[in-house]
């Protein structure tokens, strides 16, 4: 008896802590990850919104690339960002794209001393590494660091909790970071996250991850699984790679043009810039939108979307019940002419068409900290 075990499955350094906390596990991107703990997804979601949640995101890639001015120039040929003006310890959201502006991955890039730190999706990190190594002609030292864990702490009480463990983190602004020393370990902390809440991501050496996380738990934060991470990010209107984003979608179609530097669009000369410029000028045929089903019906990924004349106009990419919205929420792609806010649409669930409305994102308003200093 018993389930067949995949012997190649990887575990993060918090695996024992997850087990001790009665996690239900799921295989995600080759890792054994907690989908939820004993209190369940809805309670974990609410605890993050009202208090403070800890997320083990150690499966994500932490890619350090070392270099000076040459590296900045070379990375500007890859990412649609104004990296020359990115200040030390400041972060930007961006994409690794194909020549057709299809998205290989979405990522956070941070300027650190001696180079850049790029946080990559777990399922994409190995491929990203290969692509970047090739695009950079193997000119720079690149480390996809498996020796470091990544722990996110998210929610309104997170700043109080984290500063009681690492003094000074309260002075960080949203999308910026710094090195701190705790118990002789070098820890890199950024004020960021993917829940729509104020919070931090903490990069630290594997051997310290378990002890550090237990300190956060002692201060009142609770472990939160991937299930609540998904409902939180969806309420916050944030994309998930493999759902809203893929090689078949461009940043313009994904309604993420805010993440493309205006200066860089004028000058072009980055991978995918021809298509991006064309789409910004001429528009796109389909675009990502927020969708609010009427009533309680939940429209999941792949649900077909129809207009009032019963013509198919798109497809849902993520849909669930939003605990803070207290109702169903979804995102998807529709033909551009039906993408205006308040447009009436229909979602086909179990053979029946249910009314819904195109709405603005996020479903749940964020509260990022922008002006500490």
């Amino acid at each position: 008896m018993g389930k067949r075990v995949n012997m190649d499955i990887k575990k993060t350094s918090l695996y024992q802590l997850h087990q001790a906390s009665k996690a239900k596990f799921v295989e995600f991107a080759g890792y054994q990850m907690p989908i939820q703990y004993s209190e369940g997804i809805v309670e974990e979601h609410r605890y993050t919104r009202n208090h403070s949640g800890i997320f083990d995101v150690s499966h994500m890639g932490q890619l350090f690339i070392y270099g000076q001015e040459d590296l900045v120039n070379d990375l500007e040929r890859i990412f649609p960002l104004d990296l020359k003006n990115l200040k030390l310890n400041h972060s930007k959201y961006s994409f690794l794209m194909s020549d057709n502006a299809g998205i290989y991955d979405d990522l956070i890039i941070t300027k650190i001393k001696d180079g850049f730190l790029i946080i990559l999706n777990a399922a994409c990190k190995e491929n990203d590494y290969k692509i970047l190594k090739e695009l950079l002609n193997d000119k720079y030292k690149m480390i996809l660091d498996e020796e470091r864990s990544l722990i996110a702490i998210q929610g309104p009480k997170s700043v109080e909790i984290l500063k009681s463990v690492i003094q000074g983190v309260e002075n960080l602004n949203f999308m910026s970071g710094n090195w701190f020393i705790l118990d002789d370990y070098n820890i890199y902390v950024t004020r960021s996250g993917y829940t729509g809440e104020d919070g931090f991501e903490v990069s630290l050496t594997n051997e310290f991850a378990d002890r550090f996380t237990r300190r956060l738990i002692d201060k009142g934060a609770k472990l939160i699984g991937l299930g609540a991470r998904d409902t939180l990010r969806l309420e916050a209107g944030l994309c998930l790679y493999g759902h809203e984003l893929s090689k078949d979608k461009t940043p313009v179609e994904a309604n993420l043009k805010w993440a493309i530097s205006k200066e860089r669009i004028l000058k072009g000369n980055f991978i995918g810039s021809d298509i991006i410029t064309k789409q910004l000028t001429n528009g796109v045929s389909k675009i990502r939108v927020g969708i609010k089903p009427e009533g309680k019906i939940i429209a999941r990924e792949k649900t077909k979307i129809y207009n009032e004349s019963d013509l198919e106009i798109g497809e849902i990419t993520s849909g669930t019940f939003g605990p803070s919205v207290n109702g169903p929420v979804a995102m998807g792609y529709v033909e551009n002419e039906f993408s205006k806010k308040n447009t009436k649409i229909f979602l086909e669930v179990r053979g029946k068409k249910h009314p819904a409305t195109i709405c603005s994102l996020p479903f749940y308003k964020k509260s990022y900290v922008k002006g500490v200093n």
């Binding site: 008896m1 018993g2 989908i35 939820q36 369940g40 997804i41 809805v42 309670e43 979601h45 299930g227 998904d230 409902t231 309680k296 019906i297 939940i298 999941r300 669930t320 019940f321 605990p323 169903p328 179990r350």
Partner: protein, 126 residues
């Protein structure tokens, strides 16, 4: 005397006279997690043994609810549609799904008793 039986699809059924009350088991709710949506069959409709007779959804996924016996739907528990979290709180009692006027009592014989179901549930989740 009422008789409670269980199906392999994790429904419970309580028979009183020719009226059967049907719901999902505590074990099922533990596997599903937080239930956030419930859909019931139509009152007055006829459902066939092992056919679909409703849906429950957690934040993660949708699951069909099957009827363990055939019959006519004579009553619905609207309170679980209005507040699906009741199903997690009291699945084998107040959070029943629907009542059937059953067609063939012998269909009850194909189902498991409590001891058999507990053993089945334990094995199927191992």
């Amino acid at each position: 005397m009422s008789e409670v039986k269980f199906s392999k699809e994790h429904e419970w059924i309580k028979l009183e006279g020719d009226i059967a009350t049907i719901g999902i088991t505590k074990h099922a709710t533990e596997m599903l997690g937080d239930i956030v949506f419930a859909e019931l069959p139509e009152k007055g409709s006829n459902v066939e043994k092992d056919g679909t007779a409703g849906v429950v959804e957690s934040t993660k996924a949708a699951s069909d609810v099957y009827t363990p016996v055939s019959g006519e739907v004579v009553d619905l528990n609207q309170s679980i549609v209005d507040d699906p979290s009741k199903i997690n709180q009291d699945p084998e009692n107040s959070a029943w799904f629907f009542k059937l006027k059953i067609k063939d009592k012998s269909e009850m014989d194909t189902l498991m008793n409590k001891d058999e179901y507990d053993k089945f549930a334990k094995e199927s989740s191992a």
